[in-house]
């Protein structure tokens, strides 16, 4: 579904992403793990065109690397950004509404219902401003907002960041549930153990380069990964 080839991202003199290539096949969960500053977020941002990059980005057999952000999104990509970035000055319902900006208004009710089924808490909060939600609820809203566009590819940037362990568990269960229903997912996480447990395939990023890739189960068993990312000695 998504094929990235020789991707490079520069921030002035910093080579944040160094010639990486990877793939996200349909209906799979692929994860990019690695330490802070490895270039994981930059990779996601370059896929949607929020940062300038060179290299090829193919989505559903189209080269989208020259398109603007909104055009790439319209093709069926959704990104749940790091730190959730819900619109705190909009209500919960408006946040969901704006997620389906390009969808006909007649389909909205049905979409809201679907989101409320996955995240019942959002229904209770529908009229509240998103800024009044807790961190966990905001993460649910960010996810719900992304799902409103009915994406073919869902990308998540550090969904566990700053959340209580119980909420993290909940979020990951939902991600897995979405995948079982056929959603293709690209997951960026510092919490490597959690990510590898639900992913099919993983790439390890260090200093902007892919240093290791394998089936997620194998990465979980890998000595280096266990030492560096799973906190085992």
């Amino acid at each position: 579904m998504l094929k990235v080839k020789n991707l490079n991202v520069f921030y002035k003199l910093i080579h944040a992403v160094n010639d990486i290539s990877f793939e996200v096949p349909e209906s799979k969960i692929v994860t990019l793990i690695g330490p802070n500053g490895a270039g994981k977020s930059s990779t996601l941002k370059s896929i949607v065109g929020l940062v300038a990059s060179s290299g090829q980005i193919n989505f559903l057999s189209h080269n989208i690397s020259k398109e603007k952000t909104y055009q790439r999104i319209k093709r069926g990509i959704a990104l749940v950004p790091e730190g959730r970035k819900v619109f705190v000055n909009l209500t919960v319902l408006e946040n969901l509404r704006i997620g389906a900006f390009n969808k006909p208004a007649s389909t909205l009710e049905e979409k809201y219902e679907r989101i409320f089924q996955i995240f019942p808490i959002l229904k209770k909060r529908a009229k509240q401003y998103a800024g009044t939600l807790s961190g966990g609820e905001q993460q649910m809203l960010a996810l719900g907002r992304a799902l409103m566009s009915e994406p073919s590819l869902l990308m998540l940037d550090e969904p566990s960041l700053g959340l209580a362990p119980k909420v993290v568990q909940e979020v990951f269960e939902i991600i897995q549930h979405l995948n079982r229903e056929g959603m293709t997912i690209l997951l960026v996480e510092q919490n490597a153990a959690m990510a590898l447990k639900i992913a099919h395939y993983g790439y390890v990023l260090e200093a902007g380069k892919i240093v290791l890739e394998d089936v997620a189960q194998n990465l979980l068993q890998n000595e280096d990964v266990r030492k560096s990312y799973l906190g085992e000695v």
Binding site: K68, N89, L90, R97, R145
Partner: protein, 297 residues
């Protein structure tokens, strides 16, 4: 005494509505681009000139001329953004500010060169003719229409902002432009729309202004522009309702000061800037502005 107060209040309400119409443009542009569009006052002048030519040169009926001028001025605002501001949208805010000052000088001098500096008499539309006399109250028709027009337009704008999907996009852009584009929204269109609406409102302000003080010249936008800016800051820059309230407060207090301290009449124009300085010193977020970096519109 009561009549005097009432008279002055109505005068102030009328002047304040004009400031409000113009202040809204400042506040909306600040909301989406975090810049003070110092060319906004000159957009008001462009609106007045277009309306003037519609009536005087093209002999259009006044209402056709006004509507055409309002729409065309909206497009002038869009054009200014596309040509001058968009290329440096990601540059520092100071660069944008200086560019806005440059656009302001450009518009003023362009109109000076094209149409000369001699003031032109602005034709008063028939609907604005006349004065109502009521118990010693002296009410020019235009100063009754002005607050009504301002109120209707403010209501329409708030409706667009809160009940349409592009209005929603304007509010979300004001918070976070990148995340808005992640919703599949073409942010360039939304920004153009903001400039269109803001500039159209300035054109309405320009037309009503020229009807109250029926003479136009290429520099006429400077003073109302700067005062409206002060009003926008007073109301809390970035907040539309705040801009309207700030405009009203400024207009009414200007008039009342002159009415009750006639010796200060010569300083009338300075009052807005004194107010601006005081607001910036003691409550920089203005009346409606809360956390300056979060709440918009």
């Amino acid at each position: 005494m009561l009549t005097t107060v009432l008279q002055q209040l109505i005068n102030g309400l009328s002047a304040g509505s004009l400031y409000a119409l113009v202040a809204i443009g400042y506040t909306m542009v600040y909301g989406v681009l975090r810049m003070i569009n110092f060319a906004h006052g000159d957009i008001l002048m462009v609106g007045a000139y277009l309306a003037f030519f519609g009536i005087s040169a093209f002999m259009l009926p006044w209402w056709v001329s006004f509507i055409t001028a309002i729409i065309l001025t909206g497009f002038v605002g869009v054009l200014v953004e596309k040509l001058a501001y968009k290329p440096i949208r990601n540059a520092s805010r100071v660069s944008l500010l200086i560019t806005a000052v440059g656009v302001s000088f450009f518009l003023e001098n362009l109109f000076l060169v094209l149409f000369g500096g001699v003031p032109k008499a602005f034709p008063i539309a028939p609907i604005f003719h006349g004065v109502l006399n009521y118990n010693q109250l002296y009410l020019p028709v235009v100063s009754i229409y002005t607050p009504i027009v301002a109120l209707v337009l403010l209501y329409m704008l708030l409706y667009i902002l809160h009940h349409t999907k592009y209005g929603m996009a304007m509010r979300s852009i004001a918070l976070d432009i990148d995340t808005t584009s992640l919703m599949g929204i073409n942010v360039d269109i939304v920004i153009s729309l903001v400039f269109f609406l803001g500039s159209s409102l300035a054109a309405v302000g320009g037309i009503l202004w020229s009807t109250q003080y029926p003479s136009i010249n290429p520099l006429m936008g400077i003073m109302p522009g700067l005062k409206a800016f002060a009003a926008a800051v007073l109301g809390g820059i970035g907040d539309v309702a705040g801009a309207a309230i700030g405009g009203l407060i400024l207009g009414i207090s200007e008039v009342l000061i002159v009415a009750f301290f006639p010796s200060l009449a010569g300083y009338k124009d300075a009052f807005a800037f004194l107010l601006l300085i005081l607001v910036l010193l003691f409550k920089p977020t203005g009346i409606m502005g809360k956390e300056l970096e979060r709440k918009r519109f």
